[in-house]
């Protein structure tokens, strides 16, 4: 559909500013063989070239990016498994029965598969040891230093710290309290002050009452008529 070949009758007309005499495009061959052109025998396909066959839709047709590839190849189960389940990052989670610590970066101890692929250690045929060769494997009794006991070193399993329920509850309970105190911190202080003031006022009133009682008693007491009451001289209520 790239080019149109005009009929001679249209050459005089001007299509919206397009020059009426356009250079005739060089006819290019389609990469598709002409046999595959979809054209009914009754219709002349001459005006169109570089016309590819439309993709045949239906089962068995060419798979394009339009199709859902995961379902096309029947991988929904695997995809759902991997997308929903959280995988452990360590290699030991995939190979749990392998002895030793395998979760380390292999380049640290020169045990990488990359080095085996790039420089294969054995290029010749694998032959069995002769008696002379085994002489090189004679060992002295005793244990090796701890740093070489790699096979005994199992990866340390991470124990999940059990969280106590109380530990959760305390912050939950304390948070609103603290939040309330933060939100209306001044009010809280005021309340406390008011309480203390009230308490202080009550004490003062009691003291005043006691003083009045003592004064009355001192006045009424015939045994001690001239005995002044305590703090009498400084009392404000003295006439």
């Amino acid at each position: 559909m790239s080019f149109f070949k005009r009929s001679p009758s249209d050459s005089s007309s001007n299509y919206g500013g397009i020059p009426s005499k356009m250079p005739t495009p060089i006819r290019q061959r389609s990469p598709m063989p002409t046999k595959q052109f979809l054209s009914p025998p009754s219709v002349d396909p001459e005006p169109f070239y570089l016309l590819k066959d439309p993709p045949i839709s239906g089962p068995g047709s060419e798979v394009t990016g339009e199709t859902h590839m995961i379902s096309h190849y029947g991988l929904e189960h695997s995809y759902n498994k991997f997308s929903t389940k959280k995988l452990k990052e360590q290699l030991s989670a995939f190979l749990p029965l392998l002895p030793g610590n395998i979760d380390t970066v292999s380049s640290q101890d020169n045990s990488s598969l990359q080095s085996v692929i790039e420089k294969p250690p054995i290029t010749k045929e694998i032959t069995t040891f002769t008696t002379g060769m085994l002489q090189g494997f004679k060992l002295h009794p005793g244990s090796i230093p701890d740093q070489y006991k790699l096979l005994h070193h199992q990866p340390a399993k991470k124990h999940k710290h059990k969280k106590h329920k109380r530990d959760h509850r305390i912050p939950e309970l304390s948070e609103p309290m603290s939040a309330g105190a933060e939100a209306g911190g001044d009010n809280g202080h005021e309340k406390k002050h008011k309480k203390t003031k009230k308490h202080g006022d009550q004490d003062g009133e009691k003291k005043k009452r006691d003083k009045k009682k003592k004064k009355k008693k001192a006045r009424q007491d015939p045994m001690h008529p001239g005995m002044p009451a305590t703090h009498e001289g400084s009392g404000p209520g003295r006439p």
């Binding site: 439309p54 070489y148 005994h152």
Partner: protein, 137 residues
């Protein structure tokens, strides 16, 4: 994965497990070597070599198996779970699939708009084109 593949890998897996077990036993013998341990050590070494020979024979059965180097270099060599690679690949494939699907849909809309607009300018040609193409337009 076809159903014949588990049978194909089974001897390789068994031999690998045997090899790992012999290596582990060798490590135990060597780490605390006893005076009478030389003969068992030699025996284990022979077993190790024969196990390697068995493994070497297994390679003919798995010649057609292709393992991505990225999986080996970036995951196994780094001590990571190789299933993470499968997960990443699938997620990337789904994202790319969605992208291409979107592009195809956009081109389809563009084609529809183009045919409509061309039909206004070149009605006869587009009519003929539609006749040739049939339902595809």
């Amino acid at each position: 994965m076809s159903s014949s593949q588990p049978d194909k890998f089974e001897p390789l897996v068994e031999n690998l497990e045997r090899f790992i077990e012999i290596t582990r036993q060798l490590g135990l013998v060597v780490s605390d070597f006893q005076p009478q341990g030389q003969a068992p050590l030699n025996q284990k070494l022979h077993m190790l070599v024969s196990s390697l020979q068995e493994l070497d024979k297994n390679k003919e059965q798995v010649q057609d198996v292709q393992v991505p180097l990225e999986l080996i270099y970036e995951y196994v060599d780094q001590g990571k779970n190789p299933q993470l690679y499968t997960k990443d690949c699938m997620e990337r494939a789904v994202a790319k699939n969605e992208l291409v699907k979107g592009k195809i849909e956009t081109f389809r809309r563009f084609k529809k708009a183009l045919v409509t607009e061309l039909g206004k300018m070149f009605p006869e040609e587009i009519d003929r084109y539609k006749t040739v193409r049939g339902s595809d337009t």
